[in-house]
Chain length 208, copies 2
């Protein structure tokens, strides 16, 4: 809050914040319901009437939060980007200053149980949608690019040239995407041994 | 054809073959139309009425080829497995006896223009479907397993132990899956340099 704000202004803001929070919560429920239907049935089933009946609310209440279906779909993408990309990179950068430890953390993302499985389901549904929708394609491409930039930046900190860093970043990121999708293949000891293998392949020897 | 077959038998077979071919062609058209709708809209939109209208045929003609929607979905999966897996591994094994050349060929699959882009679209749609359907999950898992077995066998021919071969096979296959899905990232020279990078990483040094 700006230090020059007077008390009445602060009180007004608190009331405004609470109302905004209530609205955001309900808006969030629409977004979550839309995401679930997207994951389980595909984007064509994400329709206002269907969501309203799943949420046991009237169709009309949708329009209090969203202008139209398109705005809801944008919100689904925006919510995914915030959760999946911005929060993860912020958390990792905060948790470890060491680039190598941050890279190991990225490689471990697909192994984080239920949260990872849910994230993988959502991401796969978004990628499938992005294959035939420009708006989804743009959101997914931006998220991919910002993750690869982040990973590439870590390799540069380890002494790679920019070109080397981008090769390694793509390879490491691709492995994370593949492990998220193909994770059911192999026993848990196989999964853990191939994770170590890639870790050693990309991080083990010093970059030249 | 069995050498003991008499001429009349042969003639009968030819007539039967032609009829079977006509039937197969039409069955194929249903399968192709179903695959297109799956890719562009998701599995819930793959419905007999919709496909019939897209193919400009009656709904009834569907039931000449398939007992029900479920049989069509099975045929979609079967057709994909035949094309995507069996034909590819057979072609590669025939084209090169050298395991290293076969592995390079596998790595080059996502770079084969339109055919590769179409294959990637179909496969992504199947993976999205497989996240919430046991039959699709089984088909995708079997295809993944047989490809990894094939790639692992090549690494074993190069002297890897079975465990090493499986690590490398997963990593190489994961890279192909990721490159198919993330192929839009980077310029074509970046794509080609990361392909060489992975090739060198996994094939460059002799396995111990």
């Amino acid at each position: 809050m700006h230090p020059a704000a007077t008390r009445p202004q602060r009180a007004q803001r608190r009331v405004g914040d609470a109302a905004a929070r209530r609205e955001t919560l309900t808006r969030e429920r629409w977004i979550e319901a839309a995401t679930e239907v997207l994951v389980d049935h595909g984007i064509d089933d994400v329709r206002v009437d269907r969501l309203a009946s799943e949420l046991s609310v009237t169709r009309g209440s949708f329009y209090w939060h969203f202008r139209d279906r398109d705005e809801l779909l944008r919100a689904v993408l925006q919510s995914w980007r915030e959760r999946a990309t911005e929060q993860i990179t912020a958390r990792l950068q905060g948790a470890h200053r060491d680039p190598r430890a941050q890279l190991r953390d990225v490689l471990s993302l697909p192994f984080r149980g239920r949260a990872a499985a849910r994230a993988a389901r959502i991401e796969l549904a978004l990628r499938a949608w992005a294959r035939h929708d420009a708006m989804a394609r743009e959101a997914v491409a931006e998220a991919d690019a910002s993750r690869i930039d982040y990973i590439g930046g870590l390799f540069e900190l380890l002494g790679c040239t920019r070109a080397q860093a981008r090769q390694r970043a793509f390879t490491l990121y691709g492995h994370v995407v593949a492990e998220s999708q193909l994770g059911a293949i192999g026993s848990s000891s196989e999964r853990s041994s191939r994770r170590k293998f890639v870790e050693q392949l990309l991080l083990g020897r010093p970059a030249r």
